[in-house]
Amino acid sequence: MRKAVTTSALAATTALAAGALATPALADLTIASWGGSYQDAQRTLYFEPFAEERGISIIEDDFVGGIGGLRAQVTGGAPNWNIVQVESEELILGCEEGLFVLIDYDMLEYDEDDFIEGAATECGVGNIVWSKVLGYDADRIEGDTPESWADFWDLETWPGQRGLRRGAQYNLEFALMADGVPADEVYDLLRTEEGVDRAFEKLDEIRDDVTWWEAGAQPLQMLASGEVALTSVYNGRLTGSNRAEGTNFAGVWPGSIYAIDSWVILEGTPDVELAHDFISFASHPERQAQLPEYIAYGATHAGADEYISDEDAPHLPTTPENLEVAIEFDTEFWVENIEALNERFDRWAAR
């Protein structure tokens, strides 16, 4: 008797579990993005209106970055997520591994040419543009304000510590620009040994005056406390701090480095057409132009610019004046060289 009960209970549990596994998904679309206030803004602008317009349900999740998690989902069969917002590095790596559905631009409302350069790729559609700029606290600097990476290296005119993110990435680019290399030649030069040597030699000049930061919030704290006079910093956080904390931080656009985060569709997604429709929806220029009201990231639709308010425009990487003087982060270069250059960076730092 007792055994019979156990067996039937077991059978019921197994059936339940099998049922749960067989059900393809709890929602029509599962989207993972970067969480926090950023995802709150995306929910208001994209997720909720799209779900309402199409009469579907959307489940959200947080993506914390890294190719490993995406790989595990795709190779494990049906992925839990359908659409993910990834950084340029994961876009390249995942595309090479075949983790993403190839974007069919015929299924989108927009052509590749409708997007800014570098946003429409084989495996993903760019959604935001963020940038790393030279930042300073305008309340603490009297007289001339810095305007370039050469000024960042000028310890006499602007005394005080410099903040840079620990590691080689971005800093080698900044060093070459400070050394007078034109922005559009930076990565060509970095692909040569002389270029890398030159960048490290330039870094030598400010070696003892750099405070290295690790987390994206640190440079803001360092600016606010006067720990550093000038620092590299993410533009979105700079504007965010000015809005939320009332600080008077300023960013320098010439020599800034921007990167694009993209929507990708994970391989194994059941309704690929719906996923494309969502990406179309989130690429709508007028809709994209509203994001900067929440957070200072640029739009990827080339036509979004005309809808962006005059108030937001100066703070965005994609505003033409800002975009012209910036360079795009060369993800291919860094995917290939990050280990060797970061190891060299540590040897350089320990010397």
Binding site: G66, G98, T211, S225, N337, E339, E343, D346
Partner: protein, 412 residues
């Protein structure tokens, strides 16, 4: 009077005794089983897996199977034959179509920066039509196909069993003749890193001992409410989040922080002293975070030492310092051993504190493990460095066991 009866003598008794022993053995095995199982599943298996990842990698042999089958025939005298190049080309063409090249490209690029471009750049340009010579076609597509160093890396990497990562984690490599040698001194990184990690861990341990010993002594020798107040002061930070404490130290030590403001107000210095984002800050913050792990075992041992011992020594003519040195301190050694072992073990694997308050040259092994595991997905090297860390900890443990004997150690 005899106490013998039919039940209590001979084989019958022995059998019962055996039964009851067996039962109690079964019970104790049953009680221990869950924890053993837990340890095996969540501790031993992952560690063995980690060790495996550092020496075993199938990405090239799986991603380029034809190459793997034939490249072993190359004797490294001159360039490989046409059949090897043909195998490489076929693997590249098929791998490109099936998106199977990411694994080999990543693995080869780990050994030689630029290999990704060699793989993907060549694969994109190849057409399936066999040319006259695959060798010339490949070398024309990328001249590195004619470079023996690149081909040797490929030849080695097709073997799933590899010592590359372990050697690399110790700044060693195999030269073109397969002999193991130390890398050139300006190329070395990890030996210095291991030394740096040990230096920081030992320094933190000594600082904790120097600061914790008097506190524990005080705790053990004062009475009543004062002791509780002191104990709470020791434990309160222990219960506070590591991140919060680290952030608090930034407020204290930064150039316009509390410490500098005080020092300048008191006239000790005219300009701010740099106390954070360097080695000093790392040691201070790590020591504060780990101090309770030193104080608690010391306190446990000290509170068991009778204060009559010291009095007896003094009554026999020893000065206080002699009595303290020769009577009291030796009795606290088990606590010292436990505290230093705990603090050393914890600090040697530290990651977040040095990352937030250290400079560029204060990062420890764990920082690099995280970098390779999370950022560059180089699990082989991350696992190899993890193995190095584990060997350090185990060695320390064995040395301690040999000197102090773990059974004598009191952990709290």
């Amino acid at each position: 009077m005899t106490v013998s009866g039919p039940d209590t003598t001979g084989p019958e008794l022995r059998a019962r005794l055996r039964r009851s022993r067996r039962r109690s053995t079964l019970i104790s095995v049953g009680l221990v089983a869950p924890v053993v199982l837990f340890l095996v599943v969540f501790f031993v298996v992952p560690i063995v897996q980690m060790l495996g990842v550092s020496v075993y990698d199938r990405s090239v042999s799986d991603g380029m199977p034809r190459t793997a089958a034939v490249i072993g025939t190359w004797d490294r005298d001159g360039l490989p034959g046409e059949h090897v190049y043909a195998a490489i080309a076929e693997d590249l063409i098929e791998g490109q179509a099936e998106r199977a090249l990411a694994g080999p490209a990543r693995r080869l690029n780990q050994e030689l920066s630029g290999y990704r471009t060699v793989i993907f750049g060549t694969a994109r340009g190849l057409s399936e039509e066999p040319p006259e010579s695959w060798r010339e076609t490949l070398i024309e597509a990328d001249e590195r196909w004619g470079d023996p160093a690149h081909l040797v890396v490929l030849q080695r990497a097709v073997n799933p069993l590899t010592d590359y990562f372990m050697l690399y984690a110790l700044d060693m490599e195999r030269d073109i003749e397969d002999a193991i040698r130390l890398q050139d001194s300006d190329e070395r990184l990890f030996l210095g890193l291991i030394q740096r990690t040990l230096t920081i861990a030992v320094t933190v341990t000594l600082v904790c001992l120097a600061m914790g010993y008097p506190v524990a002594f005080l705790l053990a020798n004062i009475g009543g409410s004062l002791r509780y107040a002191l104990l709470v002061l020791v434990l309160l930070p222990f219960w506070t989040s590591l991140l919060v404490r680290t952030a608090a130290w930034i407020v204290v030590l930064q150039s316009e922080g509390i410490a500098n403001t005080f020092l300048m107000w008191a006239g000790f210095t005219h300009e701010p002293i740099r106390m954070i984002y360097n080695r000093f800050g790392t040691i201070v913050v790590m020591s504060q975070v780990l101090l309770p792990f030193m104080i608690l075992p010391l306190y446990a041992v000290m509170s068991g030492i009778s204060h009559w011992n010291m009095r007896a020594a003094q009554s026999l003519g020893a000065t206080f310092s002699t009595a303290f040195r020769r009577v009291y301190v030796p009795q606290t050694l088990p606590g010292v051993a436990a505290g230093t072992l705990l603090v050393f073990m914890l600090s040697v694997g530290y990651y977040i504190t040095p990352a937030l308050v250290g400079g560029a040259s204060d990062q420890m092994l764990s920082y690099f493990i995280a970098f390779y595991a999370n950022e560059t997905v180089n699990w082989g090297l991350a696992a190899a460095l993890g193995t190095v860390l584990m060997v350090i900890v185990l060695t320390m443990f064995l040395i301690y066991n040999w000197i102090f004997g773990l059974d004598r150690m009191k952990l709290s």
